[in-house]
Symmetry: C2
Subunit: 324 residues, 2 copies
């Protein structure tokens, strides 16, 4: 079994071993339900992988890894409530299966449980880990608020968009990686490089997601193509297109997105044609490549054996589904 | 200026001095709004007063006091959302003034900010303070869930009711008092006695609240009499009455509470008459007196100068609005 499979098994084992109070079941059942939905456990994986660049006793940082995954699932629970999303990973979301109030309260207790998991860590540098976690959680709220604000705006710049996704998704990956390094007692500069590494990986992931929504192979992507176009979501493709468009192209694009009665397939085709006119696929791929290269550079700087770096690199490239 | 006025001024000063990031304003404006609504700041006051039993440099524990008040206001924000309450302290609640999603997200960030305030403390025993805070926050979620569960039940026992209000309201007062003692470096037994003291005070407060809803002087109470009766709320009076009632009294009481078309004043009069038949006012006053006496006993045990104990006792008796 290779290292990353072994670490994933360690995380799955720790998550399955979690037990919650039996009462009140209306509070704790949804917590177990959400954490039992599965997922790739990317954040705890990054934490354990960063830790294992320096030390092998990864069980020491496991409570923080479980805390971060609990926190992540808290954000999914509350985001699904705010987005009125009915399904996640093929199952009804908590506010659908139970109700809105259960989603609020069980989500709150998951945030508290995340802190309690962190507090139960017996590794060193706990104060820094907790400080980083709390700051990151605050940033993620900011990212979520910017995302909401962007819904009603048509003048979002590429820079603003990148800052929003950095806050909403990348800082959590960055926090995971840096926490692993801190817990392992790595020097501050190494921990910071791992933060920057995972932050760039997070940006590349999100841009790839935006790209695949339009240019992906539906058989591989696993979601219907064009979903973001149909709901008028601000994506890297859309904000880049609005930024590069001439006045007439911009008017056409905004008119298309506002067209409520146009058949879905036609809308997707027309918006994609405009993206093609503006070379948005290339623009997006270049940005992904840039973040990917920056991530690689930060990884190179680490003062750890090359084969340990490769393990981490192999893991993130496998997630991104390609090697550049 | 006496000690408690000075401490309240210190707390008010610390809360007014708080500043939040300017952006995104949709996230932070509601936070400042809720914390700016005022209130008696009972929890930070208990923390500082407990601290000042042992030490005078109360500014050391101020970040935790601000954290606990921020946390308390987070619970008010999310509880108001769940209860669909329109007003608090004469102002529209956050979900009314903004919207539900703002209430969820700004409430979440307040919970995170509460932990960040705690983390910024420079006093000793921070780990124990944080552990107690996180455990308490989890208990309060449990109390809120039990409160929700009780709405649809008519077989809630007095013991269950007391455990619910202990979790929902008393443990936070207890946490406040114990945290002050921990931060001041008081011995564990003293910190525990202060926990038990404030827990009993919290129970007495809640029972007094239940009592005044029916037997209070509307001019003094500040709320309309009988509100709990009209919304069928499980209170100490109601669960005690249901527990003491004969089969026929119980049937009458449940029929009265379920009577949707009865004029409000008539319903209040009829339920109060049933309470009177069952001596519920005496039962409630006895319970308040018992918790009050227990609190006093725990205070007596403390190994601190008598005049410092009296300052704390005077503060809580003034809040309770009477001396027994």
């Amino acid at each position: 079994m290779n290292t990353s499979d072994r670490l994933l098994e360690q995380i799955s084992g720790a998550l399955s071993a979690l037990s919650y109070p039996v009462c009140p079941e209306g509070l704790y059942e949804p917590v177990a339900y959400v954490l039992g939905m599965g997922g790739k456990r990317i954040r705890p994986m990054l934490m354990l992988m960063a830790y294992s660049l320096y030390r092998d006793d990864t069980e020491k940082v496991l409570p923080a890894a479980v805390g971060l995954e609990t926190y992540h699932n808290h954000t999914l629970l509350h985001d699904d409530l705010m987005d009125r999303a009915d399904m996640r990973r093929g199952k009804p979301t908590v506010h659908k299966r139970w109700n809105d109030n259960t989603a609020v309260l069980s989500g709150d207790v998951m945030l508290i449980l995340a802190f309690r998991h962190y507090l139960s860590c017996t590794c060193g540098h706990k104060d820094e880990m907790l400080g980083l976690f709390a700051r990151t959680a605050q940033e993620i709220c900011e990212g979520q608020q910017y995302d909401v604000n962007f819904e009603s705006r048509t003048d979002v710049s590429v820079e603003e968009y990148l800052e929003m996704i950095r806050l909403k998704t990348s800082v959590l990956l960055a926090c995971a990686a840096k926490t692993g390094a801190l817990a392992a007692g790595a020097p501050e500069a190494e921990a910071e490089a791992l933060y920057a590494f995972a932050e760039r990986i997070g940006l590349a992931f999100q841009l790839q997601d935006d790209y695949l929504d339009v240019y992906g192979d539906p058989a591989v992507f696993g979601k219907k193509i064009g979903g973001d176009i149909l709901c008028g979501k601000k994506t890297f493709l859309l904000v880049s297109a609005l930024g590069r468009a001439s006045v007439s192209q911009r008017d056409r694009l905004l008119a298309l997105l506002a067209a409520g009665t146009m058949p879905p397939a036609e809308k997707i085709r027309a918006v994609t044609a405009l993206y093609d006119e503006l070379d948005i696929a290339d623009v997006c791929n270049e940005a992904i490549g840039r973040f990917y290269a920056e991530a690689r550079d930060f990884l190179e700087r680490l003062d750890v054996p090359a084969e340990r770096k490769e393990m981490l690199w192999d893991y993130v490239t496998a997630l991104l589904g390609r090697s550049r």
